[in-house]
Subunit: 253 residues, 2 copies
Amino acid sequence: VEPRGGGRGLRAAGIGWIAPWRHKLDGLGAAAAGRLIASAGLRVSSLCRGGFFPAPPGEREARAADNRRALEEAAELGGDVLVLVCGPPLGRDLAGARAEIAEGIERLCPAARELGVRLGIEPLHPMLVAERSAIVTLGEALDLAERFDPDTVGVIVDAYHVFWDPRLAEQLARAAGRILGFHVSDWVTPAGDLLASRALMGDGVIDLPGVRTLVEAAGYRGPIEVEVIDTKLAGRSGADVLAEVVERFSTHV
Amino acid sequence: VEPRGGGRGLRAAGIGWIAPWRHKLDGLGAAAAGRLIASAGLRVSSLCRGGFFPAPPGEREARAADNRRALEEAAELGGDVLVLVCGPPLGRDLAGARAEIAEGIERLCPAARELGVRLGIEPLHPMLVAERSAIVTLGEALDLAERFDPDTVGVIVDAYHVFWDPRLAEQLARAAGRILGFHVSDWVTPAGDLLASRALMGDGVIDLPGVRTLVEAAGYRGPIEVEVIDTKLAGRSGADVLAEVVERFSTHV
């Protein structure tokens, strides 16, 4: 649901939070979007996304500046969490990419503290390791986050990205005090397009109440973001999708 | 390459081993296939596959009998490793599926010992958790294997399935004495069909020499299986594909 419209519809449906994506703000600007969101009675749970740290040497400065700009936009929106999608390796060197990611986060920390925006490292599903993120397990995201102050760096738990992990319960217990966001959707079979098959909750195989129980046992009490990315929904009206999201959330999360 | 033809072509290309798939033996029989393979001067590195342990209660006996039959076929082929693709959960209960898998392996061990065939637990990529295997990391496969005698149960390391894992080096070091097979192919981007995108070595992003170094540092000296599953190769002749596999192996593994 884009911030331009629908804000009051969300509020009327009992939804108090929204998580904008940066590229959806183009042309409006973060400060104006923040005013629209606030005037609709909504709060910003997170801004998606900063990151993509591994870069050719000549592009690192521009990437760092863009990440700093993402932090400013999060603050202008009235949010206090920037989701980090950390980026894939440039070639075959996963270990090198992971080191570059750690350096990139370290470099971003002073601006994050200054702006009062926390950095949420989101581990993505391992199938996205070569296209979106070299950080692919919650354990690895926590190893990284624990190198920094918990007031500045934490993790985002997206059920779709982590549900498969045999160490999930153990790592969620460890994540206490570091969880900055919790995302839900569902994994359908047969798996389709890697980037457009995050189905409505209840359509797939993820034990969402089970994951939620673990997240809440780790002390997380913040908003839960519904992050469904499914081309099959594109033909339906926003109001129709919203009504179904609310129903699915109450039944399956 | 199917065992019916091409065996002497493999030998002439310097390849001494073949890993049949069970369903490719249909109509020929394992014993006859074993004689063909031996007469071509080849040895059987493994038989693919047993497993699929999670089953409705009414189907468990048939599944166990089929797994016992797979062990017999491995022995008839002259092989001593049966690859286990452990199977997905029936519903949303991953922990339950993992417990059923452990029970299924335990039940299969006496027949494996009796027939002199070892069980190789193959962790599959987490994107296949809901369709092929609830065992999705090398660490988890080792946790499972270590419950049994190393002469009976080990693991299969397939670079395609495990390359993404931030704990890979650590888990491969731990795997010393348990590695029963090593498979190579490559991961291409953008990722396509989940089951038919295992490309020729060198086409993708996996650091195959790096993985091979770790596997050999763990003491593995057995055959390396090329397991490419790529619909783009289907139109080419067996001899042509074989020549390219040999070239790619020498250059990229």
